[in-house]
């Protein structure tokens, strides 16, 4: 067995989720090779070479890979992946974009967002928005898999000493191009990797009121999320959304503020280690999953909490 792990990065640094994908690869077994594709991504390849358990790093550095366009990355992964029994990527918007494309090119199934490795052919994955967990077995010779990062504890970022090999495979389909991007600028930790996440819901009332959450988050080094209701109401941008249609998080501490706890929201955070709910409605379903519930007006409770930490 041999596993190819696709590295998630921004051409400058490796995204921590890659460490979780390597952890899933270790559970499958066999040699682990990491593929770094990007532009000017040499530093990322050096970083990947230090990951514990990685035996080789392949670096495909070319203009065609700068923006992770699925047309080019799909072709690259299908070609490089031909030599491996398993191809793993993170279940991020990048991984979800190219992995099915690569799988179809290889004429194999793709297994989405696995949360557990049973054996080299058998995996667990959530279906129906996490309301059921399916154990699935894939009979294809090659397995193309996306991995839910929060379900696997990342391996150590240091300790390995893999060799880095430059790949001169250039796949430029020439049918798509990058126009631009608007990335949310934030000094706070990224939601899916934050140790603490504080999320606000419709109860926040408006976008300005999120300031009290930002203030508390900065004190705790936390990321700030939101329910879909808060996003739909226009309080905050969509990339802050936690839930079935947003980000899946599993921090050590999740603080739900003014969130009622719709099933779609719970699907995105119920694997958090400790859940705190602050809501003035004692009937709110969020209290049924919270380890600690506080029935209180959030506009009094949050500043008070901030003051006492």
């Amino acid at each position: 067995m041999s596993v190819l792990v696709y590295a998630e990065h921004d051409n400058a640094a490796l995204n921590k989720v890659t460490l979780s994908v390597v952890a899933a690869a270790k559970e499958i077994g066999g040699d682990i090779t990491v593929l770094v594709a990007g532009k000017g991504c040499g530093a990322v390849a050096e970083e990947a070479a230090k990951i514990d358990g990685v035996s080789k790093v392949l670096c495909a550095d070319n203009d065609a890979y700068e923006h992770q366009l699925a047309e080019n990355i799909g072709d690259l992964v299908a070609e490089v992946g031909a030599d491996y029994s398993h191809i793993l990527a993170a279940a991020t918007t990048t991984g979800k974009n190219f992995a099915p494309r690569a799988a179809a090119l290889l004429d194999v199934a793709q297994i989405s967002e696995i949360s557990d490795v049973v054996d080299a052919d058998t995996f667990k994955r959530p279906i129906y928005a996490g309301n059921a967990i399916a154990t699935v077995k894939c009979g294809d010779a090659k397995k193309v898999i996306t991995v839910r990062g929060t379900s696997f504890d990342g391996v150590a970022a240091e300790g390995g000493s893999a060799s880095v090999e430059n790949l001169d495979v250039v796949k430029d389909a020439g049918i798509s191009s990058f126009v631009g991007e608007e990335l949310a600028k934030s000094d706070r930790p990224e939601l899916t990797s934050a140790e603490i996440v504080i999320s606000g819901g419709r109860g926040m009332g408006n976008g300005e009121n999120f300031e009290i959450l930002y203030k508390l988050a900065d004190k705790l080094g936390a990321g700030v999320g939101a329910s879909r209701a808060a996003v739909d109401a226009g309080f905050v941008p969509n990339d802050m959304q936690v839930g079935q249609t947003g980000k899946i998080v599993a921090p050590n501490l999740y603080v739900a503020v003014g969130i009622s706890g719709a099933i779609q929201h719970l699907a995105g955070m119920k694997d958090s280690k400790v859940i705190v709910a602050i809501n003035k409605d004692e009937e709110a379903p969020i209290f049924q999953v919270a380890d600690y519930g506080l029935v209180a007006d959030l506009f009094e409770a949050v500043p008070e909490l901030d003051g006492k930490l």
């Binding site: 366009l69 989405s112 059921a132 894939c138 941008p237 600690y292 909490l305």
Partner: protein, 249 residues
């Protein structure tokens, strides 16, 4: 131009599904079925493009059981001109569906295929990407904005860090995210009219594709239930519990 909109019949999104006692799957007996919400968004986007004069014909297609006709009728009530059902009782999986759709694309030659980013039953999020790969088309996944002009389509995509815009040559595949639009409801006169619109039925054999599942479900279990904890009386008590009991701050 012609747009193809593949749709899927799934359990209604308001239904709380239960795992069967024998762990073979979820219980779908007597459960309300509906068009997958992301597919509704795809139909709506196609209809809006037609209203803008960009699109001239909308063809809805579904790969699934005979009952999926209901969802195709819904798509036609919303504005699709005609539809195709590839009827199968197989447990259809993304690669098989993508192959069947490729065969339809080869026949229909649409310039744009718009479909939901994922179905809310299997949560796979694969079919659009696989269809794009098999047809050699570019893909604009997780779209929150679609703009067709000058033989290209510009797609704004919802990505983890924010938004990304890509430009794709036509023909192209676009998969819809939630914020692309808010689907309309079908009016009664349109529901009546939809009954007269053409609905072709084909089989996988007609298309020459193999829908045999590649992945088998060994078992399905309910997720671990989270136990409700305690209600604390004050912020002080909360801080004390978080520090000394949970030890998370």
């Amino acid at each position: 131009m012609k747009v193809l909109v593949p749709i899927k019949r799934v359990v209604d999104y308001n239904v709380k599904v239960r795992v069967k006692a024998d762990n073979t799957g979820v219980d779908l007996a007597n459960v309300k079925m509906a068009m997958n919400p992301f597919c509704e968004i795809a139909v709506e986007e196609a209809v809006r493009l037609k209203e803008k004069g960009v699109v001239t014909e909308i063809v809805a297609v579904s790969i699934g059981p005979k009952t999926a006709q209901e969802q195709l009728r819904t798509a036609m009530a919303l504005g699709a001109d005609r539809s195709i059902l590839v009827e199968t009782d197989e447990d259809v999986q993304p690669l098989g569906i993508a192959k069947a759709l490729k065969a339809i694309v080869d026949e229909e030659k649409p310039e744009l295929v718009i479909l939901g980013k994922q179905a809310i039953d299997g949560d796979n999020n694969q079919t659009g990407q696989m269809l794009a790969a098999l047809t050699g088309m570019p893909q604009g996944t997780f779209a929150s904005e679609v703009d067709v002009a000058d033989g290209k389509v510009k797609v704004t995509r919802e990505i983890d860090g924010g938004l990304q815009t890509v430009e794709l040559n036509l023909p192209a595949v676009v998969t819809t995210d939630l914020r692309l639009n808010e689907p309309r409801y079908a009016s009664l006169p349109n529901i009546m009219k939809a009954k007269k619109k053409p609905l072709d039925t084909k089989t996988a054999a007609d298309l020459g594709v193999d829908l045999t599942p590649r992945v088998t479900t060994v078992s399905v279990e309910a997720p671990a239930e989270r136990q409700a904890g305690i209600i604390v009386g004050s912020v002080d008590e909360l801080v004390e519990k978080l520090k000394n009991e949970a030890k998370v701050i």
